[in-house]
């Protein structure tokens, strides 16, 4: 397992899609800050943070997840996964390693973009209007949504490798967005919809900001992590039974 983690991490650092995601997300985050900044007063800082929240909860996971799908798919399309299996690595370990390195990938991108942005805001702006608890809750939810999206993206790329999988991922994201928009309107009190919304980034887009404490953030974190774990277990099951050519 340690060999797989080391191998996957070194390959990640040599993969173009990782740097594209890193630069792309960071550029988008900073562009959002500059576009929405109206001075360094308290209200402007809250506004910027809210923009970052609503954007990063979907856009960052989608961007990072999509780029990471390319990374995983490369092993299938080039057949390189065979080199791991032929020399005795277990399929579930290969899959787990992808998930862990995906998490590292996501956290690096998050730290480079939102992390540095938050640092700049904290150092150079008046943050007295921000409630620390709200910010921590929102940040935790963003991280959990990133994990959820990454686990789902990896699962999709195992079931549908290559460009088809990426296309499916984006279409699925769009379908989920539409689903939550429609369901929030049609059945605003539905418990099932609310639970589902806590699992997917698409369900958090409209609700997350730093002005108010999110509704039961611990439950959202729990749901997202449980969904991520389900994706990992399901993916390990799929890859364990998959016939590779």
């Amino acid at each position: 397992m340690r060999n797989l983690l080391r191998t996957d991490f070194v390959r990640l650092l040599k993969t173009k899609s990782f740097y594209v995601a890193l630069v792309g997300v960071t550029a988008i985050v900073y562009a959002c800050i500059f576009l929405s900044s109206g001075g360094d007063n308290e209200a402007a800082v809250v506004s910027i943070c809210n923009t970052l929240c609503s954007m990063s909860v979907l856009l960052v996971p989608l961007f990072v997840g999509g780029a990471y799908m390319l990374y995983v798919s490369a092993e299938f399309t080039g057949g390189a996964i065979r080199n791991k299996l032929i020399v005795g690595h277990r399929r579930e370990n290969v899959y787990l390693s992808w998930n862990l390195i995906g998490l590292v990938d996501g956290l690096i991108v998050l730290a480079a973009s939102l992390g540095t942005a938050a640092l700049f805001i904290g150092l150079f702006s008046d943050t007295s209007a921000l409630d620390t608890e709200n910010v921590i809750a929102a940040a935790a939810i963003v991280v959990c949504m990133l994990i959820s999206k990454l686990c789902m993206s990896i699962l999709i790329s195992v079931i549908i490798p290559g460009a088809k999988g990426m296309l499916f991922n984006y279409l699925f994201t769009y379908a989920l967005l539409m689903f939550f928009v429609i369901m929030y309107d049609a059945a605003p009190d539905s418990k099932i919809v609310k639970i589902l919304a806590r699992c997917f980034p698409e369900g958090q887009v409209t609700g997350l900001n730093v002005s108010v404490m999110p509704d039961r953030p611990w439950l959202t974190i729990l749901c997202a992590l449980a969904f991520s774990a389900l994706c990992v277990v399901l993916g390990a099951y799929v890859i364990k039974r998959k016939d590779l050519s």
Binding site: R6, K16, G79, D243
Partner: protein
């Protein structure tokens, strides 16, 4: 005899198609095992199962004494290297980077031997050239180099000379012989190019319809390959009729040629044919090659 790989009654079914149909084979330690079969006979399926890329529907596969259902199979697989169909490489990496990647997969402590491996397969001068810019032959060599990482005891090569130029074929042949003789690596090699296979294999397994129809050593094959008399005539139908009348084994090899598996009295035969105005144009004695033997095994065009 000690076996590296054995299978008993191995079956693999894809929906309604039986790719392997109770296949039993035995690869002896230290052998170059030529795995011969037509397209779709099940060669690559067997190789995929041996490499752990797919799972048998039924039957048993044993690698270095570990059954495919045992946990120990993962340890046994650490002793093998393989190139299955197309070489498994990262196109965006150089040859050296690909090898270093495999070193990490294997958990080797350092990159000692990478340069030697590249030199061994003739890729020492590729430098910063990405694998995506390699020719098919270069990719094939890189695939073999990757399979050699970690000094495997058993190598599985699926059609390793496909797409290679004549010089490439000679190089790979010499490499396989060298690995077998100097490093004692057991090699399972599947190939359509039977003539090429006959130059290196010490053992053979003939597969047809998902099952092994015959396993034999190269010596046994040599003995089994029957001598024949190859005859060209002006009317092959007349010759066939005469051979049928005599009850002689033969194979029609062309519009005007027949291989006769006997030592016929040529004068008698010529006189018999002349009665129907059929002339013998040429006549020469020859040994049956691997191709002919294979066809006779899997029911090609030969008649008895």
């Amino acid at each position: 005899m000690e076996f590296v790989l054995t299978t008993e009654g191995l079956r693999k079914t894809y929906r309604n198609f039986n790719a392997l149909n109770g296949l039993s084979m035995h690869v002896p330690k230290g052998a170059i095992y030529g795995f011969v079969g037509r397209n779709g006979a099940g060669k690559t399926t067997l190789i995929r199962l041996a490499c752990g890329l797919q799972f048998p529907t039924d039957g048993e596969l044993t690698l270095y004494g570990a059954k495919h259902t045992d946990d120990a199979i993962h340890e046994a697989r650490k002793r093998i290297g393989a190139v299955v169909e197309t070489p498994s490489i990262f196109p965006a990496m150089t040859a050296e980077e690909n090898l270093k990647h495999q070193y990490r997969v294997l958990g080797l402590p350092n990159f000692d031997g990478v340069k030697e491996l590249l030199a061994l397969v003739g890729l020492a001068d590729t430098g910063s050239k990405k694998a995506e810019q390699f020719s098919l032959g270069m990719r094939q060599r890189l695939g073999i180099a990757i399979a050699l990482c970690g000094h495997p005891d058993f190598m599985i090569l699926d059609e390793p000379i496909n797409g290679l130029d004549p010089q490439g074929i000679v190089d790979i042949r010499e490499l396989i012989i060298k690995l077998n003789r100097e490093q004692g690596i057991t090699i399972l090699i599947s190939s359509h190019i039977l003539d090429e296979l006959s130059r290196i294999a010490t053992h053979y397994g003939f597969i047809d319809g998902g099952r092994i129809v015959r396993e034999m050593s190269a010596d046994e094959l040599q003995n089994a390959c029957r001598k024949c008399v190859s005859v060209r005539v002006t009317n092959v139908d007349v010759l066939v009729r005469e051979l049928e009348r005599r009850g002689t084994d033969y194979t029609v090899t062309g519009a005007d040629s027949v291989d006769i598996y006997a030592q016929p009295n040529i004068t008698e035969l010529a006189l018999a044919l002349w009665k129907d105005k059929c002339e013998i144009i040429t006549c020469r004695e020859q040994d049956e090659n691997l191709e002919g033997f294979f066809l006779s095994l899997v029911g090609g065009e030969s008649h008895a």
